[in-house]
């Protein structure tokens, strides 16, 4: 496999929540990104890979998204402090909106991470040299 090969996200991975906004990206190094889907749920824990956020109602998207800064900060605190300092974390909300997290500050960007090697938390490849989200 060459560094130019393209492998989009598979339907199987999308069913697990990968490639669906919002998600968190951890930049491991230059071209390697780890994706954590964010799952909102009301009662039954979805038991899917990624971050799970219990909410009062799935219908209220505005309210659910508004908890994401806190979710990302808590997730950042869970990561090994040495690694957390070295790794860049990014909350991706839409194809045109992301917030990079560093030192308790979120910096808005209208450009989101893309391409490179996208892997899951088990270091399994999700996609190569393609968008990190599902395109219609």
């Amino acid at each position: 496999m060459s560094s130019h090969d393209v492998l989009p996200l598979s339907a199987e991975k999308c069913a697990q929540g990968y490639g669906i906004f919002p998600y968190v990206i951890l930049r491991l190094n230059g071209g390697v990104y780890m994706q954590f889907p964010v799952h909102f749920y009301e009662e039954k824990n979805p038991e899917k890979p990624g971050l799970r956020v219990r909410v009062d109602s799935l219908a209220n998207e505005k309210l659910n998204f508004s908890s994401l800064f806190n979710v990302v900060r808590q997730f950042h605190q869970q990561i090994n402090p040495v690694e957390a300092k070295a790794l860049k974390m990014c909350l991706v909300l839409a194809p045109y909106a992301a917030y990079f997290f560093e030192d308790n500050a979120f910096t808005f960007s209208d450009e989101i991470p893309e391409g490179g090697n996208l892997i899951d938390s088990n270091y399994m490849v999700l996609a190569l040299n393609s968008a990190h989200f599902v395109t219609d």
Partner: protein, 119 residues
Amino acid sequence: MKKQVIVWLKNGMIAKMNAQLIAATTHQVAFPSTTVDLPLLIEVSHHGLTTLLDLSGFKDCVVLQFGEDRYFTGATYCQNRNTGAFMIQSQARFIVLIPLPLPFHLEETEEIMIKEIEA
């Protein structure tokens, strides 16, 4: 011209963004939505009590409003779902338009700081 806008939140976190700066020099201002990128910072420089903002055609965003002391005074959502005009009247002196979705609670907003963009 762009400025760095820092939104301080009550929980100790901050949201930073480089926002296009527009001065509201009259009581009624209209921005061509096709030439304005979000985030957008509007600084009200006239001495009237209110400013009428024409946000017709804007991308979906939240409109954060701040007083002379730069403390948060209120917010509204701008979601244009049809072709009609959309205007808001505001008493704020500093107005920040941030694209939706917003990843923090509106009520956590405290104040803003405006800085030159660091090189």
